[in-house]
Subunit: 465 residues, 2 copies
């Protein structure tokens, strides 16, 4: 092994997590998991990579962003791109599971252009909750939207849940004159309306083969959004649209959804947005996306206006994905929370960089030290033996890792720790130690605490904690 | 997307985790993390892949087991092989950290021959605790061994901690006549003594270029193990060995360690084993490995006798690894717990296969149902609204996802849930619901519980939980 001058960094689009950042991230996970559990969720964990053929043809244009593993002989694998396809693979493999609410919190991988400050990473977290099984129409879909509302209530964030229906979207395209084989690619152009002005989206649709007239008709149909009840009225009043089988089936679903949203009291959080398309190929019914609610505006007005972070959760119904693995079909609907973007919003300090000071701070209950005169041997084995008793009792404790520690060094190292156990040669000989409670602004080194019997030490400490 | 007949499996050497298995795994993580926190540990999380050059030349012969990512343009990366090298990379990158106790629990990746029943996987978990920084000799090393003892005490497993010292081992090789450049490869042969008989190891050493005589001398030196105090006496009585600078430095370290083990009261768990070598290149001082203690035997007698699972934790001192990244050196010592093997030992039922029944079981507090006569409309929006109140109050609740549920279906679905809220048209009109406590062997469908006011529902449920 030779000293080398390698590039000292994490790979592009990835980061380390430590200290306050990691603490906040864990708090977000816990908040979300608590909601999942309230809804009867079961946890699942799957491998970080899957057979490549399991993942193939599931992600449309985004597939190019998949990370492949090197061919080292044996199976060809890719890093997981989301948690939905692995869940579908698990369902297909486990034939005795017909109904499940499962959740999973894990990292996923996409070779996208990263923007770390905005929470766009190549290695990022998803928190997924999915309901699989045959139920009455839109009942699980409504519960998923309720889960979304509860998660953001718990996180203290004011959001808008944009919803749309793949069958309405496909029907609108058909009525506007888009041919069947162009629907998915036109859909992916329309999905960019929240990031691009209409003229650019129209240009992309024309490049993808739409005439000027058809493109304009698509634009007219999809650039509508608002309250779900008003939108249903508008759609129902357009006979060109309701004559289309897909549109009318979608409207029926959305009507049920509106009723259930009202039952949950969350209809104000929902905006029906006909331009919402979602890039992934596997969605088949309701689709949704969550954005921060622009302050002061009940509805986002300008389509090109987006906040910096983009969508912070997204999902939809995918009834055909499990069946694609050649066995029985199981209809599913689910949501994926983008924890890294939520983290970016909740982060108290927007400046970049790790707060290393807190990274190395410890949460300790007791500092074990020894004091004595010049001849004093440091009592290291004795400090170890006492600390071991504390550890055994579940108490968080530390001592200075020096054979002959200076008293000042020990007091410095104990900063921020509430209690100290102080050992001395004479006290030990009498089976005693000193137990000291640190008080702010006291003359620390003069107050050496109460003498107590070694036997009572754990008990006395537990009383004070 | 077409229906395809892909192979429905997880990649070789990987598995899904769900239900009781996942619960047990999480309990093991929690038990270990609690010990780490008692010792003042700080959590760290790093990316699942690293720049390949960061990982290169750190793992000796095992490097061939590393998973590479496909070259898709841009940086060349590999999946992490352990958590030690990423920690060293993090230390090298964060110059203001001079002392830290860090822990990390994460999956690591090795393209080894898997044996899933014995807990040998290609994707497996490590739980690492490391102490970085300059301290008095062997004090952090001793604390690491104490952490090991406490983790296995907490898990209820009786283990032996085998220890050795790289400088003693290197010194023994030198005195036996092994040339410097052969030491690492001979060391890796010696490390196999716990899995192979001596004759096979000797043959490997001869193939690696040792003469018969040198090989036998190596065999004589390394096939010694036992109580740390006795072993130190034996080594000290051999002047050929103590004349070697490495051996005598190692003996001094082991003498300190023996003293600190006694202070912690864990000297009976430690066995000094001169054949322990550890394959990884980066170790520089104390090395250790934990095995299940063969029942009834205070010391494992036969070197070839191993239990099925092999080592369940391992680690050592690596003083030069951080410095290899071209900046300041930071001495470190750490331990890695092999959670998958520990899981295999603790698993209550050795039979293979997931317990799907419990995988889909939910932990619910309340089942919300509706009963009525034939005209009854199922009260789905009402069940949703009531359940939403419970969710908001942090209560785990569910209802049947059917518009018109049959009463039997609802009672069946509520199996195992302690409480039910029962809605009826007339009661609702009066602002009331029924709250029922399920009792085993009661006539469930006749007892419909107490009538209570809707306003008091959450409060009454919280009293009962």
């Amino acid at each position: 092994m030779s000293r080398s001058s390698v590039q000292l960094k994490t790979p592009k689009g990835t980061r380390d997590w430590v200290g306050d950042d990691l603490l906040l991230r864990e708090n977000i996970f816990k908040t979300i998991t608590d909601v999942f559990k309230r809804h009867g969720g079961t946890p699942l964990d799957t491998p970080v990579f899957e057979l490549k053929e399991i993942l193939s043809e599931k992600y449309g244009e985004d597939s190019r962003l998949m990370y492949g593993l090197e061919d080292q002989g044996g199976e060809i694998c890719s890093l997981r791109f989301d948690l939905t396809v692995p869940f579908a693979r698990w369902l297909a493999m486990n034939g005795n599971v017909t109904h499940i609410k499962r959740y999973q919190i894990a990292k996923v991988y996409r070779r996208d252009q990263p923007a770390i400050a905005r929470g766009r990473l190549r290695e990022f977290h998803q928190c997924d909750f999915d309901i699989a099984g045959v139920y009455d129409p839109m009942v699980p879909d409504a519960e998923i939207l309720c889960v979304i509302a509860e998660v953001f209530e718990a996180l203290g964030l004011d959001v808008t849940i944009k919803v749309n229906h793949r069958r309405i979207l496909d029907g609108l395209f058909a009525v506007a004159g888009v041919s069947d084989e162009k629907i998915r690619s036109i859909s992916s152009a329309v999905d960019k309306l929240d990031k691009m002005p209409w003229d650019d989206v129209k240009k992309e649709m024309q490049e993808k083969g739409l005439s000027d007239k058809v493109a304009d008709q698509v634009g007219e149909y999809v650039r509508c959004s608002g309250n779900i009840f008003d939108m249903l009225d508008d759609l129902n009043s357009n006979e060109n649209l309701t004559a289309n089988e897909d549109v009318s089936a979608g409207i029926a679903d959305m009507g049920l959804l509106a009723c259930y949203m009202r039952a949950f009291g969350i209809e104000q959080k929902v905006s029906f947005d006909c331009s919402l398309a979602r890039g992934l190929d596997y969605y088949s019914g309701l689709i949704f996306e969550v954005i921060m609610r622009p302050s002061g505006e009940p509805e986002p007005q300008s389509k090109a206006q987006t906040n910096q972070v983009g969508s912070i959760a997204a999902g939809g119904r995918y009834d055909n994905l499990v069946g694609m693995y050649g066995k029985r079909p199981i209809p599913c609907v689910g949501i994926s929370f983008g924890v890294d973007r939520i983290f970016t919003i909740l982060q108290p300090k927007p400046e970049k960089g790790l707060k290393i000071s807190s990274a190395v701070s410890r949460n300790l209950d007791v500092y074990v030290m020894a004091l004595g005169d010049k001849e004093f041997d440091g009592l290291l084995p004795e400090r170890m033996a006492v600390t071991r008793q504390l550890w055994k009792a579940g108490i968080r404790a530390e001592y200075l890792a020096k054979v002959k520690p200076k008293s000042l060094q020990q007091f410095k190292a104990s900063m921020g720790v509430p209690l100290a156990v102080i050992l001395g040669q004479d006290e030990l000989a009498a089976g005693q130690v000193r137990l000291k409670v640190f008080r702010p602004e006291a003359e620390e080194e003069k107050d050496l605490g109460q003498l107590i019997s070694m036997e009572n030490l754990v008990e006395e400490i537990k009383k004070l904690l």
